[in-house]
């Protein structure tokens, strides 16, 4: 029987629900018919009668005609004194560093006329090697948040720095106990300032001052385990580029775990099947994560089974875990992992995402057993991030809650009211503290309760230094003068310690202090050189630590339904919840925007919750109760979720009391404005799951829970089945490593062939490329031909490209309601396909009587996943171009499908004719219509500053789509022309290729015979999506190669090759 894999975007598609079928045939869902419109009762309330409307129309036409005949006076204001390094109209790039307490990366900041407008990873310097994540790229928007505090606050009202400083200094001097609660401080300068403060306040042996580090997401379990096994609370550095076998037990290391900006880059270098070798990735997890979706073999486990999986592997490899481990349904996957680990001793990595000391101890034991320490895991170079002291912080919070807090509490970079398990109790106790100070950017959940708020600079306004790893010292330099009357956190600490005086808006206090720190750390170093590169390597001493076995303690146990609390790649721990770009970024796996939900395997949902839904009616709700605390959230079907477990994302439910944390952090109404709760307060998005966490010695990110259905449905905005590419089979191509290595191209990447007549009049088969729909464009010979190659093997689906594209191309944010209507505007979408093994192959039909898609559901329990970024394919035979009645979309000599917005009259024929569904229509004037005031940054005077001045902001009624970053093409060409040289390969980068941490996206000039894109397009893995349509796109995909023994897939492809 001929079989092929069945790829489906969502359960609706798998089951072919009536709603899905209805929507897939409409390019623009939810179109109102004329009857609907006229039947609208609201219409009758409208004060404009038809005749009046016509009068208005006539008047406006006349008025517009008259107005157009007069040139408006445009003002132009040159600099009074032009800064030396600013050329108006040209970008200036600065190397800097990003750290927000969770994510860390060396970055490049693009500024225009002194405004930062784009952030990308620094590929030349820093150990992150250009890796970023969506949050880092989107952080530039946070700079222009109009709800950031603009001045220090005292008791809820605006104050001045001198008043606040005097009061705080006095309070510190008169206090018996001063506590500084901060997130992990990796700044050597801030560490120095804090120790100076400790020396001053504590003297020889006093205990007046205490510094407690506490992170929303804790890695204390790992540090404690390493204390037991290696004698120090360290986190070693991992090198995934050296690991032939990667086993991750619940660690989403590609997206959220530990240091994903570095790990994703390392991982990406070994996912190329054409390379020297390809790594083999095993993932054991409960919620399907980004890492799990990329795994070659994925085992579904419950969080309570993490220890058992590790113990099973230890035992299989000849070790003694110290307790008996019963294998579960994951045994097959674990056996495969053991087999692979056996073959790659000293060249493997085992990581665990658990915060339980015992589980981390088992991971250590396994790594030691495999001899990975000293090869893939480096104990000498330590990761300095994530130093949360869980026990101490939680005890402190409990003391505060009990009214036994310090006299002065300074909080820096933390939001304990929101992110601590006992945040609510802490909030009550906080009010009884005499002097509470928050160094924060917003009057958030915690800061709004404090006596004083000392607003800190945004990262892009501030000097800062970092030591994220023991072997690297990095600095962040300001790329804009502070917009508000804020101050560097470092300066505030120094001022309160009497070590410095306030420097005002152009303060050099932090700069001078950091310079001194650098001189102490690296006496021969040049500070200018450091700022140019943003970082410098430091020598480390080889670690003498040796693994010592220690009895395993603190293992998780559970009964009933187990909940996993995970982070989403866009929202993370919730500190960027007010960033509309991130809120609207579809989750890499569920494709849900703007929301929080309970993930559950559709197999388990049967009978209790609707497994399919349409955007109108929404999802069923459920209540999750843990230790008497509960949240009510919609239940979302997630194939791959371990049965018996559910997942809830952290980072939602920000601003539960309507705190001013940013407009986009709250739910909005259908026709604009914030949705208010019954008590008149703003409605937060989702629920705060931090409140459900429990803690032993360390905070646990899993728990046993009771879950029960609740009446009612909740509308949700998911993009997974939007823009479905209809009924074609050549969208995703996938194979296994063994087939790829041992078979000819046709076995895994057979091109489409059509019949044609040869010169003798005989029927012969010829590849699709030989057929032309229309006369060919001359793009293959003259000038440039720009193209994109996307490697499905190395694309991890993280979403960085999507946010980078949004930032570069002024893509509007449309809000949840519009996303529900299928009107999201992203130029680049990442299609996530689940794959099950059952479907009739092309050209064959299954027996309609006996066939049922329900059979596929077994595969849907734990499907494999393919991420596929999709943007305009710039077809050389573009179907959109031929149907435009006004020639607003045309083809260029360089192979670009160009869009002239001012010519477009909005017929939308082009979008209907696009086989890839990549065209987006401006249904509204997003930069001014009231519906988008809360979500679209372009409506805010400050938010508008983030717009790229080289790209037009589109107006209502026009089509738009990926332009292949034509502004960057033009800029690259111009630089080459001015320097009288040819364009070097790799010189041109689109926003998406620039930001891809795994370099999956390659762009370039296809007419340059030596270019990477040419090589990629001619490789054995290259194929074009929907090749058979004959549109000759300029985008190539590289067949996804999975490093697994998939016998079924092998069989199919071998059979087809023989066929």
């Amino acid at each position: 029987m001929e079989m092929t894999k069945k790829y489906w975007k969502g359960i609706d598609e798998l089951k072919q629900t009536p709603e899905f079928i209805k929507h897939k045939e409409q390019e623009f869902p939810n179109q109102q018919t004329v009857e609907d419109f006229l039947a609208d009762e609201n219409l009758a309330e409208s004060s404009t009668a038809r005749r009046d409307f016509l009068k208005f129309l006539g008047f406006s036409v006349a008025a517009a005609t008259l107005a157009a005949c007069e040139a408006p006076v445009t003002k132009v204001v040159p600099y009074a004194v032009k800064p030396e390094n600013v050329t108006p109209g040209m970008p200036t790039w600065y190397a800097s560093t990003y750290y927000d307490g969770a994510s860390y990366a060396s970055i490049m900041v693009k500024t225009r006329e002194g405004r930062p407008i784009f952030i990308k990873g620094n590929k030349d310097f820093g150990f992150t090697q250009g890796g970023t994540n969506p949050q880092i790229i989107a952080s530039v928007l946070g700079l222009y948040d109009s709800e950031r505090l603009t001045a220090p606050q005292a008791n809820g009202s605006t104050s001045s720095w001198s008043a606040v400083d005097t009061a705080i200094t006095k309070a510190i001097a008169g206090a018996k106990k001063v506590t500084l609660l901060s997130n992990t401080v990796i700044s050597p300068s801030v560490q120095r300032a804090i120790s100076e403060m400790a020396v001053k306040l504590n003297g020889e042996a006093g205990s007046k001052f205490e510094h407690i580090q506490y992170d929303a997401i804790s890695y204390a379990g790992m540090r404690e385990a390493n204390l037991l096994n290696f004698g120090a609370r360290i986190i070693p550095s991992y090198d995934f580029s050296k690991a032939k076998t990667i086993v991750s037990v619940g660690a989403d290391f590609l997206s959220t775990w530990l240091l994903p900006t570095e790990f994703a880059v390392q991982y990406g270098t070994r996912r190329n099947p054409e390379g020297e070798w390809m790594s083999k990735h095993f993932q054991f997890e409960s919620v399907l994560t980004v890492s799990g979706s990329n795994a070659d073999v994925r085992g579904m486990i419950k969080p309570s089974e993490e220890a058992a999986v590790l113990a099973y592997m230890i035992k299989a490899l000849g070790g003694n875990p110290g307790f008996a481990a019963n294998a579960g349904s994951w045994k097959a996957a674990a056996d495969k992992a053991v087999a692979a680990l056996t073959k790659s001793k000293k060249e493997s990595i085992v990581v665990s995402g658990s915060n339980h000391v015992g589980v981390q101890q088992l991971a250590n034991q396994l790594n030691n057993l495999l001899g990975n320490y000293g090869t893939t895991i480096d104990l000498s170079t330590t990761i300095e991030l994530h130093q949360s002291q869980d026990a101490k912080a939680l005890q402190f919070a409990a003391n505060v809650a009990a009214g036994k807090g310090p006299d002065v509490l300074i909080m820096m970079g933390v939001n304990p009211v929101y992110s601590m398990p006992n945040g609510a109790a802490f909030a009550k106790g906080l009010k009884s503290i005499k002097t509470s100070v928050a160094i924060a950017s917003h009057a958030d959940e915690t800061a709004s309760l404090c006596t004083y708020i000392c607003p800190a600079h945004h990262q892009l306004e501030d000097w800062a230094d970092f030591r994220a790893k023991s072997n690297e010292y990095a600095v962040a330099q300001p790329t804009i003068r502070p917009l508000n009357n804020t101050a560097s956190a470092l300066e505030s600490l120094l001022v309160w310690n009497g070590a410095a005086a306030r420097g005002g808006q152009d303060s050099a206090v932090a700069y001078d202090y950091i310079k001194a720190t650098f001189a102490a750390i690296n006496p021969t170093g040049d500070f200018n050189f450091l700022t140019h590169n943003s970082c410098v390597s430091l020598a480390t001493t080889p670690s003498a630590a040796v693994y010592t076995a220690a009895p395993v303690k603190d293992l998780p146990s559970a009964n009933g339904t187990e909940v996993v609390f995970y982070q989403k790649s866009a929202i993370g721990n919730g500190q960027h919840a007010n960033n509309p770009w991130l809120q609207e970024m579809p989750d890499p796996i569920t494709k849900v925007t703007w929301d929080n939900y309970i993930t559950m395997n559709p197999v388990e949902m049967k009978g209790k919750y609707a497994t399919t839904y349409d955007q109108e009616h929404g999802l069923n709700m459920a209540k999750v109760t843990i230790n008497g605390k509960s949240v009510t959230l919609p239940v979302y079907p997630l194939p791959g979720q371990t049965p018996g477990t559910i997942g809830i994302a952290l980072g939602y439910g920000r601003g539960a009391n309507g705190e001013k944390i940013g407009k986009a952090a709250y739910q909005t109404k259908e026709y604009g404005g914030h949705a208010l709760q019954e008590n008149g307060q703003l409605t937060p998005i989702g629920a705060n799951a931090f409140a459900l966490l429990s803690a032993g010695a360390t905070v646990s990110y899993s728990a046993s829970a009771a879950i029960s259905p609740v009446d009612g449905t909740y509308p949700i905005a998911a993009t997974q089945i939007h823009h479905t590419v209809m009924g074609r089979d050549s969208i995703v191509r996938e194979t296994t490593l063994s087939i790829f290595q041992n078979r000819e191209k046709d076995a895994f990447n057979e091109g489409h062939k059509l019949q044609k007549l040869d010169k003798h009049g005989d029927h012969v088969e010829a590849p699709i490329s030989e057929f032309d729909l229309w006369a060919a464009h001359p793009v293959e010979k003259i000038g440039h031909r720009w193209g994109i190659s996307i490697d499905l093997s190395s694309c991890i689906g993280c979403g960085s490209c999507l946010i980078a594209c949004q930032s570069e191309n002024n893509v509007p944010v449309v809000g949840k309601d519009e996303v529900r209507r299928g009107r999201e505007m992203h130029w680049l979408r990442i299609d996530r396909y689940f794959a099950s093994d059952e479907e009739a192959a092309v050209g064959t039909k299954k027996d309609k009587e006996t066939f049922s898609y329900d059979d596929a559901e077994i595969a849907a329990l734990n499907p494999t996943v393919v991420h596929m970024p999709l943007m305009c394919h710039h077809c050389n035979h573009a179907p959109c171009e031929t149907v435009c009645p006004v020639a607003a979309t045309t083809h260029s000599n360089e192979g670009l499908n160009q869009m002239a917005y001012n010519r477009c009259i909005g017929t939308r024929y082009c979008a209907n004719n696009c086989p890839y569904k990549v065209r987006r229509f401006n249904w509204f004037n997003y930069p001014s219509y009231k519906k988008f005031t809360e979500v679209n940054p372009a409506q805010d005077d400050l938010g508008r500053m983030v717009l790229n001045p080289d790209v037009t902001v589109r107006t209502r009624g026009v089509m738009e789509k990926c332009s292949l970053c034509v502004q960057r093409i033009q800029a690259t060409k111009l630089v080459a022309k001015k320097e009288a040289r040819v364009i070097a390969d790799g010189e041109f980068a689109t926003a998406c290729s620039d930001s891809c941490p795994t370099n999956a996206i390659v762009v370039g000039d296809w007419n340059d015979l030596k270019s990477m894109i040419r090589e990629k397009s001619e490789g054995v893995r290259a194929y074009q999506a929907l090749e058979e349509v004959g549109v000759k796109p300029n985008v190539w995909y590289q067949v996804k190669v999975r490093n697994e023994e998939n016998t079924l897939l092998d069989k199919i492809q071998v059979a087809e090759a023989h066929h």
Partner: protein, 448 residues
């Protein structure tokens, strides 16, 4: 006074010497001319005869020194090397405190040269007093030239009156004819019944084919004319907004010959040519303050913007950017890059902006006829700053391709030659590769 007398003597001596040797030259003029030349070459960067600038004013400086108690000859020493003089002479030491800017050393200037300079300086008239009359005259002259632009002669009313007369005549003749017809008609009733309208309709019906065709042609012509006129609407041509500072381009670029790129210095680097920042103005206007001139007020505006304290000769640090009115305004959906055109295309500023060296008023968008008069310009027909104007130029301007001067275009040329048919087709049109043949007419070249 003593020194001065000695100088006078010396001068007489030198005049006598010159008279003896050269005989027929106008000797005093010679010495003064030499002084002027030396002053301009060596001193004028920092000194002005009658006014303090970077250095103090020089008129009467010898008298000032001698009366101030300077040692004899110390002023010459000062010019040669002020540090030596300051070390020797307490007066010179005092003088060295005048400004934070130290004076350059001029060891090559002989005593005679210095005297020649000083003589010229002393002899040169003080513009603050002597020049007043002349400037007043110049002002009057300026007022005379700045007459109101002539009203364009409007002949429309003549045509209107003539049209009315014609209509009256036609009506009258028609009436007479009708009366005659009625009078001569046998059937009075029939004639009575036919009104003007009925008669016309009857006629139209009779010749319905002709009438239909004519009206069709008329309607189409009207539509075509309407669209033609809509296309030719151009609000930019001749646009000349008033400016906060009346900046005369002719004086700067014309009379003083300052290169466009000196002030508009980002034109070769960036998409915008940039209105220069005030610090660029101050490079020259620190010295040229226009004191006593009619335009002194304009220059004061620059000082206000730059935060320049004229009397103290220093910056106060309080800057105040000038808000100009943009002259050449492109719509926001148009991307235009100056450096592309100036550096890569080698297009002269004149091609689009006209001859700014002749533009004695504030800048304006030149009509295309004016631009066409300029030698070397590509002659265009469409209105300035319209899209038609851009693409017309793109179809006429050739690209220097394959001449070995620009490796980028050499590569393009190499690739182009791979398609000989297309290449020949490009060349056959006009013997050159024009901008549009390389994609200069494509939408996304300017719209994105």
């Amino acid at each position: 006074m003593e020194i001065s007398n000695i100088q006078t003597l010396k001068r007489i001596k030198s005049i006598a010497f010159a008279a003896f040797t050269l005989g027929f030259v106008a000797f005093s003029n010679f010495a003064v001319a030499q002084g002027e030349a030396l002053f301009k070459a060596k001193c004028a960067t920092c000194h002005m005869p009658h006014k303090n600038s970077t250095g103090p004013k020089l008129a009467g400086v010898r008298d000032k020194w001698s009366s101030g108690g300077a040692k004899e000859g110390s002023i010459y020493q000062w010019v040669n090397n002020w540090q030596t003089a300051a070390a020797n002479d307490p007066y010179a030491a005092e003088v060295s405190k005048w400004s934070p800017t130290a004076m350059s050393a001029f060891p090559d200037l002989k005593k005679e040269d210095i005297d020649a300079i000083m003589d010229w300086v002393d002899a040169s008239p003080d513009p603050a007093t002597a020049g007043a009359g002349a400037d007043a005259a110049a002002g009057a002259e300026g007022a005379a030239t700045a007459t109101e632009p002539l009203e364009e002669e409007n002949n429309t009313w003549i045509w209107l009156i003539m049209g009315v007369i014609f209509v009256v005549v036609i009506m009258a003749v028609g009436g007479v004819r009708r009366q005659l017809k009625i009078a001569t008609s046998d059937n009075e009733e029939e004639a009575e019944a036919m009104t003007y309208g009925e008669e016309l309709r009857a006629l139209a019906w009779k010749y319905r084919l002709q009438v239909g065709l004519v009206s069709l042609v008329v309607v189409i012509s009207i539509i075509v004319a309407l669209f033609q006129s809509l296309y030719s609407i151009n609000v930019m041509e001749g646009y000349q907004p008033s400016q906060p500072i009346a900046f005369p381009h002719d004086r700067h670029a014309g009379i003083n010959g300052i290169d466009c790129k000196y002030c508009h210095n980002t034109v070769t680097k960036s998409k915008s040519a940039s209105i220069p920042s005030v610090n660029v103005c101050m490079n020259c206007h620190k010295q040229i303050d226009g004191a006593g001139k009619p335009f002194e007020g304009q220059i004061k505006k620059i000082y206000a913007a730059a935060g320049w304290d004229k009397t103290g000769m220093k910056y106060t640090g309080k800057t105040n950017p000038i808000v100009w009115n943009k002259v050449h305004v492109l719509p926001e959906h148009v991307y235009f890059n100056h450096s592309q055109h100036v550096v890569v295309g080698g297009v002269d500023c004149k091609q689009c902006h006209g001859d700014m060296t002749q533009m004695n008023e504030t800048a304006m968008v030149q009509p295309v006829e004016e631009l066409n008069k300029i030698e070397g310009n590509i002659k265009l027909t469409r209105k300035t700053l319209t899209m038609g104007w851009c693409i017309e130029c793109h179809s006429k301007k050739d690209v220097a391709i394959g001449n070995g001067k620009n490796a980028y275009y050499d590569e393009i040329h190499r690739r182009l030659k791979k398609d000989p048919k297309l290449y020949a087709q490009y060349l056959n049109n006009d013997g050159k590769i024009t901008v549009n043949e390389l994609g200069g007419w494509e939408c996304a070249k300017c719209h994105y």
